[in-house]
């Protein structure tokens, strides 16, 4: 991620709020008080995680980009409903999952379908990795992405949040509006179905 020092001052007319080192809750309050620059900082802080979440659902950059923007626009509109009971990150995840589940279907185009392109997109773990190995790894990654896209919605959401965002089950339950037991069951069935799809 592009690192950028968060030590700057709002350029809003008449607004001298320094947003450096403010907590998310303070940024939300500043934003509600009319400091738009505070929301810029919120976006900068969370855009990577939100984008990655959207990419896991959409499977391609273009859709993930659109979805991530939608998440932040919805978050901005609903800032007054953010009560601070959960972290801002968790709240954004909740919005993100809702946006993705409502807009992404199982038939979403997952890129790259071409294993050659897939291999070039995947990080090369080692410079010694042969082109053939990279090709195989890219092909496998495309298969796994396509299989995850075929999972039922809640299983897919649970898998994405647990595996790729390392969220604990109780936090996932809060995001999905489920019980912890249901999250664990969904996670198990997601992995079980994924195994079948990959076989």
């Amino acid at each position: 991620m592009l690192t950028r020092a968060l030590t700057w001052t709002s350029k809003e007319p008449g607004c001298k709020v320094t947003v450096a080192n403010q907590t998310d809750a303070e940024l939300v309050q500043a934003c509600l008080a009319g400091d738009r620059a505070a929301f810029d900082v919120i976006v900068e802080r969370h855009q990577r995680h939100v984008y990655q979440l959207c990419y896991r659902f959409a499977g391609n950059h273009e859709d993930a980009n659109d979805l991530a923007q939608d998440v932040f626009v919805r978050a901005y509109r609903g800032l007054k409903t953010f009560k601070g009971q959960a972290s801002l990150g968790t709240w954004l995840y909740r919005i993100g999952v809702n946006v993705c589940l409502s807009k992404v279907s199982g038939k979403t185009r997952h890129e790259p379908l071409d294993p050659l392109l897939a291999a070039s997109d995947e990080r090369i773990a080692s410079h010694q990795e042969s082109a053939a190995d990279a090709l195989l790894r890219g092909e496998r990654a495309a298969e796994v992405r396509a299989a995850i896209a075929k999972l039922p919605r809640k299983q897919r959401a649970t898998l994405v949040l647990r595996v790729y965002h390392d969220l604990p089950h109780d936090q996932i339950a809060g995001i999905l509006g489920s019980s912890v037991g249901a999250v664990k069951a969904n996670f198990f069935h997601a992995l079980n179905n994924l195994k079948k799809l990959l076989s």
Partner: protein, 201 residues
């Protein structure tokens, strides 16, 4: 073997090697080939999923995305949630449609009633209202409320009414509105002005 591991117990073994579970469950796993095979399959699927990364966008992408979000929210203010959003114009369309249909049904009921009742037999006040509601002398050009009403109706796509689950006979709303009394037209006009004023933010 009975008492195979439940999905939650499998997840406990996947997450933390079953440390949170009673020793009897670990003992079951050791002795149950079926559960061991299922656990191995689940772990294999997890490993496959974990091996897939999200391709990293260009470093230039992040400021670009932040700028796009900034542009999109530039004309907005955080909303109060709850009832304010119901006054947004798209939400207003089915509301106005419903209002028009309710008025249509009400007026149609009144109209059919009037056809069976001799106006001369009505009390004076009722007779006055009855005659006004069909009075062709309502000045559509000079009535501000009428203008608001017709302009709002003109901007309402028929698809939106259908999407809202409403379907009316062709011309029914027009006929209903034409049969409204001046008081009813004014009342409806005030309602519409109020809604349009609230949704204009």
């Amino acid at each position: 073997m009975r008492n195979h591991l439940s999905p939650s117990e499998f997840v406990e073994f996947v997450d933390a090697t079953g440390r949170a579970l009673p020793a009897s469950r670990s003992a079951h796993l050791e002795g149950c080939a079926r559960c061991r095979a299922r656990l191995a399959a689940v772990r294999e699927a997890l490993a496959a999923a974990e091996a897939v990364d999200v391709p990293e966008p260009s470093p230039l992408y992040w400021p670009h995305m932040a700028a796009r979000v900034r542009d999109r929210v530039a004309g907005e203010t955080p909303r109060a949630g709850s009832w304010h959003r119901w006054l947004a114009l798209p939400m207003l369309i089915p509301v106005v449609s419903a209002l028009a249909i309710v008025v249509a049904v009400f007026i149609a009921g009144q109209g059919s009633g009037r056809q069976t009742v001799d106006p001369q037999a009505m009390p004076p006040a009722r007779a006055a209202i009855g005659s006004a509601s069909t009075d062709p002398t309502i000045d559509a050009d000079s009535s501000e409320a009428w203008q608001v009403l017709t302009s709002a109706a003109a901007e309402m796509p028929i698809e939106d009414a259908h999407d809202a689950g409403m379907a009316v006979a062709a011309g029914a709303v027009d006929r209903a509105v034409q049969r409204m009394t001046p008081e009813e037209v004014n009342e409806l006009g005030q309602l519409l002005r109020s809604e349009i004023h609230h949704s204009g933010d």
